[in-house]
């Protein structure tokens, strides 16, 4: 998969460089540079063909739309990755906190119910078995 990305990156870099050179030729056009311009135009078409070929190798890649928004705003898309990771870690910690709290609550509830309803809790434990260690 990494090879496919490298291949696409290489083609895109070549394409961008060709477009840049095309821009330079066009920015101050001289009659003698018509041949070069024609050549660059055909390079651009072959570049598009190469990129089109890369599309088949990367059809199963999904790009999050939020990353597009970052690029459209002129922001570094790595910031999106950073925020995703930070959000995931924060949510992970939040859920862990909830699980830990609920586990403590459960063990406390069972112990307190065992004091008030000892027979029922004995039956409950017979059905459910012993609680897994929290």
């Amino acid at each position: 998969m990494a090879e496919n990305f490298d291949n696409l990156e290489e083609h895109l870099e070549k394409f961008v460089e060709n477009i840049r050179q095309l821009g330079i030729i066009v920015s101050d056009f001289q009659p003698s540079s018509q041949t070069g311009l024609n050549q660059k135009l055909n390079f651009m078409i072959t570049g598009l063909q190469d990129i089109e070929k890369c599309r088949q190798q990367l059809h199963d890649i999904n790009v999050p739309l939020e990353a597009f928004e970052y690029i459209d705003q002129g922001r570094n898309p790595q910031l999106y990755t950073k925020e995703c990771l930070e959000r995931a870690l924060a949510k992970n910690e939040q859920v862990k906190g909830k699980i830990d709290t609920m586990t403590k609550f459960k063990s406390l509830l069972i112990s307190e119910l065992g004091k008030v309803f000892p027979e029922e809790m004995a039956r409950y434990k017979a059905i459910h078995g012993d609680d897994p260690p929290s």
């Binding site: 570094n76 950073k82 992970n92 039956r123």
Partner: protein, 246 residues
């Protein structure tokens, strides 16, 4: 009611075996004295509903006599937020890479080789990627090289482009880092003393570097003066000059 039901689902429904009619009821409401066949069908149905494997912790409602709404304890080995998911999916390296140090804000720092002003919002010049999704380009034709007749359409007028189209050459201004200055200072042959002294010496050095020929001429003159006995204060003046330079 049964007529409507049979008219909807056909006459075959009337031939349903008696045991299967009990399957329509919930598992928590078994008849008070279910027949042996009915129990067997229920026990076969419960695992299908719950998708259990192995020893079922949940028993039929009749056996959980004092309790109701008794559910299974969730399986312990399920992946939840209780585990550190970044470690679980081996993303520590990515986390340290992106969250450990400051990521530069601008798009040009991510794509430094891309020409043009790419830090401005794409909605301004119609280059937004979102427009590709909202208004996808009409495509489908394969790319074919331009022949001579088609290339005739690309004959351009000579001369420079108008100002408004010269966007390709505009690059975002790059900040000069102080780091470079620090590198230059140690390479200087004269060791730095006080900041005022070093500045002064820099100026002097610039002046000295330019007229190399003048130096040579001066040296020649000095040599000539050494030979002449009339030259005043040769031994006294020279050390003073060197001291002032230092």
């Amino acid at each position: 009611m049964t007529e409507i039901f049979s008219s909807l689902y056909g006459q075959n429904d009337g031939q349903v075996p008696p045991g299967s009619s009990t399957l329509g009821f919930g598992a928590g409401r078994p008849p008070p004295q279910p027949p042996a066949q009915n129990q067997a069908s229920m026990s076969a149905q419960i695992p299908l509903q719950l998708g259990d494997e192995g020893p079922a912790l949940r028993r039929p409602g009749a056996m959980n006599e004092p309790f109701y709404l008794l559910r299974e304890i969730p399986v312990g080995n399920e992946l939840t937020g209780n585990t550190n998911l970044i470690t679980h999916y081996s993303l520590e390296h990515a986390y340290n890479k992106f969250c450990g140090k400051k990521v530069k804000e601008k798009l040009s720092s991510f794509l430094p080789e891309l020409p043009g002003m790419i830090d401005s919002p794409g909605s301004q010049d119609g280059s937004a990627l979102r427009s590709l999704i909202e208004k996808p380009p009409v495509c489908g034709n394969s790319f074919s090289p331009l022949t001579g007749a088609l290339l005739a359409g690309f004959r351009l007028h000579t001369g420079p482009l108008p100002e408004q189209y010269r966007l390709m050459h505009i690059q975002p201004p790059k900040k000069k880092s102080k780091h470079k200055h620090r590198h230059h200072r140690p390479q200087d042959p004269i060791p730095p003393e006080t900041p005022s002294d070093s500045d002064h010496k820099k100026k002097k050095k610039k002046k000295d570097d330019d007229p190399d020929r003048k130096k040579k001429k001066k040296d020649k003159k000095k040599k000539k003066n050494r030979h002449s006995p009339d030259h005043p204060g040769l031994t006294g003046s020279q050390p003073n000059c060197s001291n002032s330079l230092r």
